[in-house]
Symmetry: C2
Subunit: 175 residues, 2 copies
């Protein structure tokens, strides 16, 4: 129901109608619309993806970015994310949920960046948050802001770019 209507069409009444469960019974489990909504969103969170191990940071980053780009364009989570972000602007509980989900979504990036540092594939001073923003940013921008296609050449350009920044300050040689 949430993916069809967003938060706007979500009410205990509508859930009761759709599920055939009495409102009283729903209220026994969730004291309010907000509580049920929060719980539903929590369960729709994306599963934490395994960190790939291709042997190179470039390969790992490409794998993670492609899988995320796919989930952004196809998953129920992705169609609900704008509602969560909208609510997070004003509702502290949803803001906390949104923050937790963003940590989960980016955890795989952190894992491959940390490992690349251990393996000396990246300088120890690499700023993981910056690299994540450089990869996630252009993807979320095309998906939710410009609504342009996220195709393989674009993903490749984004990765190339982030690799370049990750290898800063003065190690361009790996390109």
């Amino acid at each position: 129901m949430l993916t069809e209507t967003g938060f706007g069409g979500f009410s205990i009444d509508a859930v009761a109608r759709r599920s055939g469960v009495a409102k009283m019974t729903i209220y026994r489990h969730w004291p309010s619309r907000a509580a049920l909504l929060l719980d539903a969103c929590t369960r729709m969170a994306p599963a934490r993806a395994e960190a790939p191990d291709t042997g190179s940071f470039r390969g790992d980053l490409a794998t993670v970015a492609k899988s995320l780009a796919q989930r952004m364009q196809a998953s129920r989570w992705a169609s609900l994310l704008p509602s969560i972000i909208e609510a997070a602007e004003r509702d502290p509980a949803l803001a906390a949920l949104h923050a937790r989900q963003n940590v989960a979504v980016t955890a795989t990036f952190r894992a491959i960046i940390d490992r690349a540092k251990e393996r000396r594939q990246l300088p120890p001073a690499t700023d993981a948050s910056k690299v994540i923003a450089l990869v996630m940013g252009p993807l979320v921008y095309r998906r939710w802001f410009s609504r342009e296609k996220i195709d393989d050449p674009f993903i490749a350009a984004v990765i190339e770019n982030a690799l370049n920044a990750a290898a800063e300050p003065r190690k361009k040689g790996r390109r």
Copy 2:
């Protein structure tokens, strides 16, 4: 009212209460909540910014990016944007509005990229959409997804990165 409550708290009833204008009168000008909402959002669109002319593409890009980062963090438009994006997922009229606003927001980028091509500061084949995504992306990601700080060093890193990509395929020399 929209910036306070988002789309969720927006109704003809609430507008009538707040404005002291009779509902009948409001309905005479806007036939539905949707029509009034669309009109209000249209009027809150960010003004088209003048393209700066600092003499270099790097300087122009920095000026545009900084001004946009500031508007993202302070303007009424920015606090409403998640509602528009949320509605755009399901409502064609809001999707069209969102598309028009995004064209307006990115027009300044296009203007400075086009001029830099004319002045041979950028290769003629530079992909404007890609450069815009590389600049806008990390900014919108930090503002609405990770909610991290958008400080000057971050903006500088984003610009450096996009300049690098704009000068592709093989013109790293300008760094």
